[in-house]
């Protein structure tokens, strides 16, 4: 069995890690102490930038660079931790919050100080009840020890932290929809620019980062950018918690060094598909990533290599699909998710996701014409790049990749379904003319 490289998950099996006593005993909150007593906010940002730490929520943008966009000056500034985790296939933040909430809190406070933010929020999806309870208890502990609140460790920095529970909407993971939702509204994305760093929550400058990104911050500060960069590749530094699910024998979260071959994750760690089955395709970064094929498993699992392959590392969720799964049913299942979750604000996304589902259903029933598959692909192209956010693109990209890579199967599926439907119609006596009567 292949090995994991455990940095974020190093102490994950330690009993009671979610309590502040155990976390501190294992060296917790030392990074915060170091940052507050020996570093200026600018130095923290510079260290994060030097570490090469990239966002773990989907887009992979440099964490330190994003923090550097925050304007200077005294005004209310905000930090939002994105714990909405709703991308199909992704369940890493759940583990990090449930097992090691204090590392996240420590990361949030350090990042907030670096960005000059005095108020921080954790936007956690409403379904994560257990994790919200654990976080609330942890925040209370951290506040009691003076790690959260006013004048932290006597440094003069204030960071207030509130856990805010969502109520079931994937779109609220999109950063500007998250802001609207946190302001108590429907979670509709906003037009960008202005970007959140200029005008975000309550119109103030806002830094938004994913749970895993922020959980890495104490490690970068405690051990230094140089240490952090020793793992991973030049452009994808550090480790990554990868959620592996679907048709594998051991679904779960595995922490790996970025850049190891994807095959080691899918087969070595997750056990590969069930006996007798082969990998038909896989999503390297959640259901919105274009699918890759079996031979792509030999590529290094990193931001740049997945992009080169025409897909993306996204949230770092690998969904494996074996050869027993019809591609049309997979495409339909993916498209239905985005249809359900589209907020309806932009027409190409609202209508495009709906019509994509309808056309795929037609193919599934054998009612499509050959032209329909071309139209289906055109619909995807008309969604991409034409909306306020990329929810529509998140359906268009995987669906397009499936059409491109399995076009023959789409056509054959439609043909077979049509023949089956015709046979049924004859059997039920519905066809207009019996065959021998015409002869």
């Amino acid at each position: 069995m292949a090995d994991q490289t455990r940095v974020l998950l190093d102490d994950i099996d330690e009993p009671g890690l979610h309590t502040i006593e155990v976390y501190e005993r294992l060296g917790g909150y030392q990074a915060l102490r170091k940052a507050l007593t020996t570093m200026e906010p600018d130095e923290i940002v510079a260290e994060l930038q030097a570490s090469g730490l990239r966002g773990r929520g989907g887009a992979g943008f440099s964490m330190g660079q994003k923090a550097s966009f925050m304007p200077k000056g005294t005004m209310d500034k905000y930090l939002c931790c994105n714990a909405d985790e709703s991308e199909p296939g992704t369940f890493k933040d759940r583990l990090l919050m449930q097992k090691n909430p204090h590392r996240l809190i420590e990361g949030i406070v350090i990042a907030a100080v670096a960005a000059g933010a005095n108020r921080a929020f954790i936007y956690i999806r409403g379904e994560y009840v257990l994790q919200a309870d654990i976080l609330n208890a942890a925040v209370a502990e951290a506040r009691a020890r003076g790690y959260v609140g006013a004048n932290i460790l006597g440094s003069g920095h204030d960071v207030d932290l509130v856990v805010h529970r969502g109520a079931g909407a994937y779109i609220c993971g999109e950063e500007t929809a998250l802001l609207d939702s946190l302001e108590g509204k429907r979670g509709n994305p906003r037009l960008k620019p202005p970007f959140p760093a200029n005008q975000g929550l309550f119109r103030g400058p806002t830094l938004i980062n994913n749970v895993e990104t922020l959980s890495n911050v104490p490690i970068v500060i405690a051990k230094g950018a140089e240490w952090f960069k020793q793992r991973g590749t030049e452009k994808s530094t550090g480790t990554k918690v990868v959620s592996v699910s679907g048709n594998v024998q051991r679904p779960g979260n595995y922490e790996i060094e970025l850049g190891i071959p994807a095959r080691e994750i899918v087969y070595g760690l997750a056990g590969g598909p069930p006996p007798g089955r082969k990998v038909k395709c896989w999503f390297p970064g959640g259901s919105s990533a274009p699918v890759l094929l079996e031979e792509d498993l030999d590529r290094p699992y990193s931001f740049e290599s997945m992009a080169e392959a025409g897909s993306m590392l996204g949230s770092g969720a690998i969904i494996v699909v074996d050869d027993s799964v019809p591609i049309v049913s997979l495409a339909l299942r993916v498209a239905r998710f985005y249809r359900h979750e589209s907020c309806g604000k932009c027409v190409p996304c609202r209508e495009g996701t709906n019509w994509t589902v309808k056309m795929l259903e037609r193919i599934d029933r054998g009612e499509a014409t050959p032209m329909d598959i071309e139209i289906l692909d055109q619909v995807q192209q008309n969604i991409m790049g034409n909306c306020l956010c990329v929810l529509g693109d998140s359906m268009a990209m995987p669906v397009r990749s499936m059409i491109a890579k399995f076009k023959d199967e789409f056509i054959a599926h439609n043909e077979r379904a049509r023949e089956a439907a015709d046979r049924l119609a004859v059997g039920a006596g519905l066809s207009s003319e019996p065959v021998d009567a015409a002869a």
Partner: protein
């Protein structure tokens, strides 16, 4: 004919137009259209004046609920940020975001009921219809779909009995694809669940027991079948 909900309670028609519409509706109006929110085809009464912020003196709010909503409001720079937690709290008290529940939240938060309705109808966990006090969300999203989730969802629905106060619905990815096929029972994640276990799960919810003890995320010693016990 008045369409009935799965749990046997009668749908409330909130305005005369809707009442007419429902009364005259043919049989199939009761068949839910998947993925379309209930009430989508009910029109608004445009002749009615819009409801204003309720007068706090006129609306009776349970004391615990008022205190909880006020505590939420105090946590944010703008009180409206408390809309989601406040509505969730009201739903716990009333079983759903009923017109009464919304009026109470509106009175405490000093916002209009329409604003809160717009929020309720956006989010999957807030119910704008009385669908049941308990919920069983069966994930049928991508990864669970690959592990036979549809059979689990069908088995859960089949296990319901008339009079059950349980909202069984198919849900999108719950962030527990490692537990697939799984479901979320009143906030507790259980999985993997075999379709044959569905009647037991529903019976447990009905009787107020914990379904599948030891198999919930966060239970003592919880681990997946292929993981070593730690």
């Amino acid at each position: 004919m008045t369409p009935e909900h799965g749990n046997g309670r009668t749908l409330r028609a909130r305005d005369p137009v809707a009442a007419d519409h429902l009364a005259g509706a043919p049989e199939q109006a009761a068949t839910p259209v998947p993925s379309v929110p209930a009430g989508w085809d009910r029109s608004a009464d445009l002749t009615k004046p819009p409801a204003t912020i309720p007068d706090p003196a006129q609306v009776e709010v349970p004391e615990d609920l008022r205190r909880e909503i006020e505590e939420h409001m105090a946590k944010y720079p703008d009180r409206r940020s408390a809309a989601l937690p406040a509505l969730a709290a009201a739903q716990r008290v009333h079983g759903w975001c009923s017109p009464e529940a919304i009026a109470q939240v509106a009175a405490v938060m000093r916002v209009t009921p329409a604003y809160l309705s717009s929020v309720v109808t956006f989010y999957d966990m807030l119910n704008s219809e009385p669908v049941g006090r308990h919920y069983v969300y069966v994930c049928t999203s991508v990864s669970c779909h690959l592990r036979n989730a549809q059979a689990l969802a069908d088995a859960m629905k089949a296990a319901l009995e008339p009079g059950d106060d349980i909202n069984v619905r198919e849900f999108e990815c719950l962030g527990a694809c490692d537990m697939a096929p799984m479901c979320d029972v009143d906030g507790r994640y259980i999985g993997p669940v075999d379709p044959s276990e569905a009647p037991d799960v529903i019976a447990a919810v009905r009787e107020g027991r914990t379904p599948l003890p030891g198999r919930g995320l966060g239970d003592d010693g919880f681990h997946l079948p292929w993981e070593q016990e730690s």
